[in-house]
């Protein structure tokens, strides 16, 4: 087998952490090669080195048998290496063509470029109109823009970072068809994901990273999702106990919840009805940017609505401030950990004060009881196994999984009556994700009602007692878990008319 990219002995250290250590693997032309690993395993650092964003401390890379040491993404692209990032870098107010022109290394006349975009997108089954504004495109279409931008440069190696995390199941299928076509034409694909089913369907080989080192190389088709996951985390997984709750009395009721958006790229909430019962986990699925953030802000009290639209124990709370809602027992944990759920530069004690003040009585007459707050922070850290040097550590210094455990723990330990969590395990490693899910289930078992909003269907299927889908700011009626197939959910997520 001939080799396109050959990597050996690659090492990269950051202050306090060795991100990659003695990493070696190779990619053949036309191969779809998976890079697997938990968060923090060193996948991003590795691809950043291949794409020239960071330079390795030690080790060599060879492309087509020649030494390859890109010092910038421009170098990498010139050598035939392109990358599609998880987070798109697109200007919403510009057209598809303008966005693509901005990302190209050479200047191409607008009309010529538009023609090339049309021909490439047709060629690879990625329908795209060069004149549409990015702001009007769905997330899946935006990703196509990024892919077409790469394809225009005729790459030999295409790196894709978590490409399916924002797509509906149908959009995933379209993407996979494109990737297979590319592979057939000899383009190698380095595919980063932690969705094991996808990797088993799509990839020819997989390299598994753990703690910055290559721990295994395998043929994913010959493995089970479970064996792959165990290679990733380096230990055996425990099955979650099955539990189907008998719904208790109604705790939170949304009736005709609507909120027009003032943001040109925001989503208006339209007539949302939802009933949450005690002892129950409710899951809301949906593709990112379909009103999830808006719904969470309305429930947390950051956005006020008509009082009667939200009722807690039949008390109208839609017009109450976040702290009034907290005192009544309605707590939230937003998706964005750094900057929304927690203040990045403030200590964990400060961040406890952020949401725990009212319910944990951390103040009297406006004066703050810092020792009580740090004790509560310590309790959260202990109970939820948050790895941190101490309560004075700034939130920013914690890894994603540890901070998420802290954020969820901070709310759970305030004994909420209703807890709303958005993307509880986004970007969190498998072990931390399992413990977060367990704590949410335990909370429901203790009689609270938990609302989980997530883009991870497997997570929702595993956790929820009832289930709904949000699309375009509208919420589907709830269905009992188990009465609905993945395909059906996929159609609902695409707003009923997905491609």
């Amino acid at each position: 087998m001939n080799t396109l990219l050959d990597i050996s002995g690659l090492r990269k250290a950051y202050p306090g952490v060795v991100a990659n250590d003695d990493v070696a693997f190779d990619i053949a032309p036309g191969e779809v090669h998976a890079l697997l690993g938990e968060n923090g395993a060193g996948k991003s650092t590795l691809v950043k080195m291949i794409y020239g964003l960071v330079q390795p401390d030690e080790g060599q890379m060879h492309l087509h048998g020649r030494p390859y040491a890109p010092t910038s993404p421009k170098d990498a692209r010139a050598a035939g290496v392109s990358m599609v990032f998880q987070h798109f870098s697109l200007f919403e107010a510009l057209s598809v063509r303008e966005n693509i022109a901005l990302g190209l290394d050479e200047a191409i006349a607008p009309r010529v470029l538009a023609d090339r975009i049309r021909s490439v997108s047709k060629d690879y089954g990625l329908p795209l109109d060069p004149d549409r504004l990015i702001g009007d495109l769905s997330v899946g279409e935006r990703q196509r823009v990024e892919i077409v931008r790469c394809l225009l440069q005729d790459p030999r190696l295409l790196i894709m970072d978590e490409p399916t995390s924002v797509l509906t199941p149908q959009e995933v299928n379209i993407l996979f068809d494109t990737l297979r076509l590319l592979s057939k034409r000899g383009v190698a694909i380095l595919y980063i994901s932690h969705k094991l089913d996808e990797i088993r369907v799509l990839c020819d080989r997989a390299t598994i990273l753990r703690g910055g080192k290559v721990v295994a190389t395998c043929i994913p088709r010959d493995e089970t999702p479970r064996s792959l996951a165990e290679m990733m985390i380096g230990s055996t997984l425990a099955d979650p106990p099955l539990r189907r709750a008998v719904p208790g009395r109604t705790l939170l009721k949304l009736t005709g919840l609507s909120l027009p958006t003032h943001d040109p790229f925001g989503v208006s909430l339209q007539g949302i009805d939802l009933t949450l019962h005690a002892g129950e986990v409710t899951g809301i699925a949906g593709v990112a940017g379909n009103g999830q953030d808006e719904l969470v802000e309305v429930l947390s009290g950051e956005q006020l609505v008509e009082p009667g639209m939200i009722r807690l124990d039949n008390t109208p709370v839609g017009g109450l401030s976040p702290n009034r809602r907290r005192s009544l027992g309605l707590l939230t944990a937003p998706e964005e950990r750094l900057g929304h759920a927690a203040a990045p530069d403030m200590s964990l004690t400060d961040n406890t004060m952020l949401t725990g003040r009212v319910r944990q009585r951390l103040s009297t007459q406006g004066f703050l009881k810092w020792n009580v707050a740090s004790n509560f922070a310590r309790a959260v850290i202990k109970q939820f196994d948050v790895r941190t040097p101490g309560v004075d550590t700034p939130a920013r210094a914690l890894s994603g999984g540890n901070l998420q455990k802290f954020v969820i723990g901070r709310e759970v330990m305030q004994k909420p009556r209703v807890l709303v969590v958005n993307q509880p395990t986004w970007g969190v490693d498998a072990a931390a994700a399992a413990s977060i899910r367990q704590s949410l289930r335990d909370l429901a078992a203790a009689g609270a009602s938990v609302l989980v909003i997530s883009q991870d269907l497997d997570e929702l299927m595993e956790m929820s007692d009832q289930f709904a889908v949000i699309a375009g700011g509208k919420l589907s009626p709830t269905r009992p878990a188990g009465s609905i197939s993945i395909e059906e959910i996929g159609r609902m997520m695409g707003g009923g008319d997905a491609a």
Partner: protein
Amino acid sequence: MIRLEPRLTPSRAMVWGTPALAVLATMIAGGILFAMLGKNPMEAIWTIFVDPILDPYSRDELFVKAAPLVLIAIGLSYGFRAGVWNIGAEGQFIVGAIAGSAVGLAFYGTEAIWLLPLMALAGMVAGTLWAMIPAFLKVRFNANEILVSLMLVYVADQLLRAMVAGPLRNPAGFNFPESRLFHDSAVLPLLQGFPGLTEYTRVHVGVLIALLLVPLAWLLLRKHLLGFNIQVMGSAPRAARFSGVKPAMIIYVCLGLSGAMAGLAGLFEVAGPAGQLVPALPQGYGFTAIIVAFLGRLNPLGILAAGLVMALTYIGGENAQLDLGLPRAAISVFQGMLLFFLLGLDILVRYRVRFGKRGAAQ
């Protein structure tokens, strides 16, 4: 080669080390500047930084100059922490002085203990109201408070000129644009006989009040919900809203507080060293206090120290003008350099400097 390497957590030592380094760097750069002007740099630095401390009269003046700087800077520091940029403290200082003077002159000749507190209240209310203009415009129309508050400085300055030439002019003053000299009840008592002060000291009660406000301000910042909310607002606005902080409220409180403190400082200046309202009253304290606030790390205790350092450059600068013939502008440049070095050296809080190459990098 010199490289900057991010620190895992901001360095505590550097948070307080950089202001000291900035003062040191300013001395060095200032020395070079003075040498280029043909003066002996060591002598100039000594005159500016050391002589005022050794001389008892200059030492007293240090407190008189530092008091308004500290008062204004403490007020500003709350807003700066919250990301509310009040650049117009000078204007709030002026209207505070005008309003306080107007009250003092309205009761001209009335000997009463309540007059000074009433004047102080008037100064604070006027400063607050003046600061409410940018606050309201920001909340209502999202107008930039930096521009609005700064422009209002010049409005306040014109107002002062109009007042001393019109309603507040001394009726027996041969049409000079200045007010009457305040009568005894409207003048801040001097702290004569206070240990450590000279016999002819100009240190007044206002200095004592400024000093007492320092621990109070610290308490509000560290132990009270308002101080906490202000810090969260500046550190992570979205997290602040999530925690239940209302941004408009923070804007009003921060601008109002800084306006009140600047207004009080203005009143102390007219009722203290000046003793009457004169057009030359504004000395740029409102602007210098911005440097003091940052030099003191927006921390009341730090601001107290920074205020004294800054007062030192004022008094030392004046001495240097007299003794060495340094131009007045050289002192302004000197003060500007201090802020420049402080902001520049701030990078050391988050980064450490490494020398030489390492491994295959670059």
